[in-house]
């Protein structure tokens, strides 16, 4: 990323340096330096993330925004260390948490938790059982499970099978599982990574999820991807705008999430309406008309 680092106010919980992710269209992996595709029909590669750097401190909520396919989810996977060399490149560093576990997977589980875009609605498990799975590598702790369920407002529905809950409730259960994973005896902490947590969720559920995330961010940090720049600006302290795998802006949410930058990211005019940033349909129509005339 080109000189777009926001100076952190507090000690960083997460540092990502020159992050990259490259994969082959036919499932092959490619290492080596970045910068374009290799030749040959079988060697078609995609640079999903190119040279992104960021830091994240305690109490911060970072929103990553950009058009479909710009690399938001890929960046989240790189940050979660779910992608490794040779596909992934760069350095991801979490503030070290003391743990007796020697397994890298277990140590990572104590410092970061990922909630994917469509959490699996596991049949025949209750909400409580799903949340309990978050404690797999950090040790059983029923009070952490209760706290997590309480934080997302679903303690009363904890004994229901998760596949009978609504989409929004399932999303909250997945978030609660991540909360339980990062819970250290009542203290939050760690970095919560959420891929599109608000997609397909009604406004009431969005508000409940935002409340839970804000509460959690007090003791840790949150990274989320979003398609809604207005919502991102409303809840995030920091933001990153991505385009074609690169970060074109990173900084305080209020500054970065501007109509101008987002118009560039979405390749479509955007305008600000109060606190919200929405597609500028009038401008889009006139641009389209102009194109047709010419």
């Amino acid at each position: 990323m080109e000189s777009l680092t926001a100076p952190p106010a507090r000690a960083p919980l997460l540092i990502g340096e020159n992050l990259g992710l490259r994969y082959g269209l036919h499932g092959s992996s490619y290492g080596g330096s970045h910068g374009g595709s290799r030749g040959g029909s079988a060697a078609q590669v995609i640079d999903a993330v190119v040279g992104v750097s960021l830091t994240l401190a305690e109490g911060e909520i970072l929103a990553i925004v950009g058009a479909n396919g710009c690399g938001k989810s890929s960046l989240l996977r790189v940050l979660a260390c779910l992608e490794t060399a040779p596909r992934a490149s760069g350095r991801v560093e979490y503030r070290e948490i003391r743990t007796s576990s020697r397994s890298v997977a277990h140590r990572l589980a104590a410092v970061r938790a990922l909630v994917p875009q469509r959490p699996e609605a596991t049949a025949a498990l209750t909400a409580r059982q799903v949340v309990r799975l978050g404690r797999f590598s950090v040790g059983p702790d029923e009070s952490a499970v209760d706290r997590a369920l309480g934080d997302v407002g679903l303690l009363a529905r904890a004994e229901l099978p998760v596949n009978t809950l609504s989409g929004g409730e399932r999303q909250r259960i997945a978030i609660a599982r991540a909360f339980a994973q990062l819970d250290r005896g009542g203290v939050g902490g760690g970095v919560l990574l959420l891929d599109e947590p608000f997609s397909g969720i009604d406004p009431g559920e969005v508000a409940r999820i935002v409340t839970a995330l804000r509460m959690r961010a007090r003791a840790g940090a949150v990274v989320l991807t979003s398609h809604d720049p207005g919502l991102a600006r409303a809840i995030a302290t920091h933001a990153m705008v991505m385009k074609e795998g690169r970060a074109i802006a990173f900084g305080a949410a209020g500054e970065v999430l501007s109509a101008k930058l987002l118009s560039e990211a979405y390749r479509s005019p955007m305008r600000e309406v109060g606190d919200w940033i929405v597609p500028d349909l009038t401008a889009s129509q006139s641009t389209e008309r102009g194109r047709m005339r010419s």
Binding site: H26, G27, L82, S103, A123, A124, L133
Partner: protein, 337 residues
Amino acid sequence: MRTRGFIVLGVAIVVCALMRSAIGPVSVDGAIKLALSMPAGEILAFRLQSVLSAAMLGAALGLSGLALQSLLRNPLASPFVLGVSSGAGFGVAAVLAGAYLFALPAVTFGGEVGGAIAGALITLAIVAWLGRARVSDGGDHGSGASDPTALVLSGVIVGAIFSAATMLLEQLVPHGLRGDLLSWMAGRLPEIPARSALATVCVSVAVGWIALASQAGALDVASLSDDEARSSGVDLGALRRKLFLVGGILAAVAVAYAGPIGFIGLIGPHIARKLVGSRHGALVPASALAGAALLVSADAVRQWIDLGTGRLPVGVVTALAGGPAFLWLLRSGRWNR
């Protein structure tokens, strides 16, 4: 739910075992009249050995099915669907045919098991390679996860190829051995199991059971999405390698012992899920018990059906009963609930 489920399974096994002990080609009280002039106690001992043999084989198939379903994250997977049984069958046939063609000494059960394990694991490796996730198809980016649909389709085709190859081998051996092979390929429980063979099955079941039970927590987490499981600290690669070995070896031992017996590995874990839920701490023993109950009952049923031409191979009974039951499960969508 769990306790009630285990009580149901326990009662089912006892009832099936009693049924099987009471039915046989030679009735206990009439045994002395027949050529087999054996005391009733010995006949009963033989039958109990048959019950143990069927129960252990059923448990092996139930555990193998559960391991493969977890490996593929696909409730329709089984040793049959993945072609593992056919691959193991080819391994056994290759060992038998090879021994005949090269005039080697008689093949022991250990040799058959070796051939079956090689065939099963090679098949699984081929099928896993063919069914690996492709990023361009929306596969999981680099997690090593498999694409269930591609994997199952590959399994069906590879299984068909190995079945054809086994038939080809049959043509190379003399009539007597060919008849044995054909009978074995229909899935036939040995009437009087060799002790070493039965012991091999028992040890395999015990090892497979412990291996799966020790991974119960990781298997629960792995039932979430791959990313969630890995984010929670599960080493999915290591877990899948264990499932690969346990599923493949148990299926191979079962095939070497009794030929390919279908549907137990598929239906056993489904019945277990209905009875004890989806958590693997209970699901592992319940799948073994359900598989055991199913195969003992199928063995009892085949003893009861007397067509005057000898008893049916147990594989025929499991296919005739298990096939429609599975189709009903599939059609009603209950397998996914």
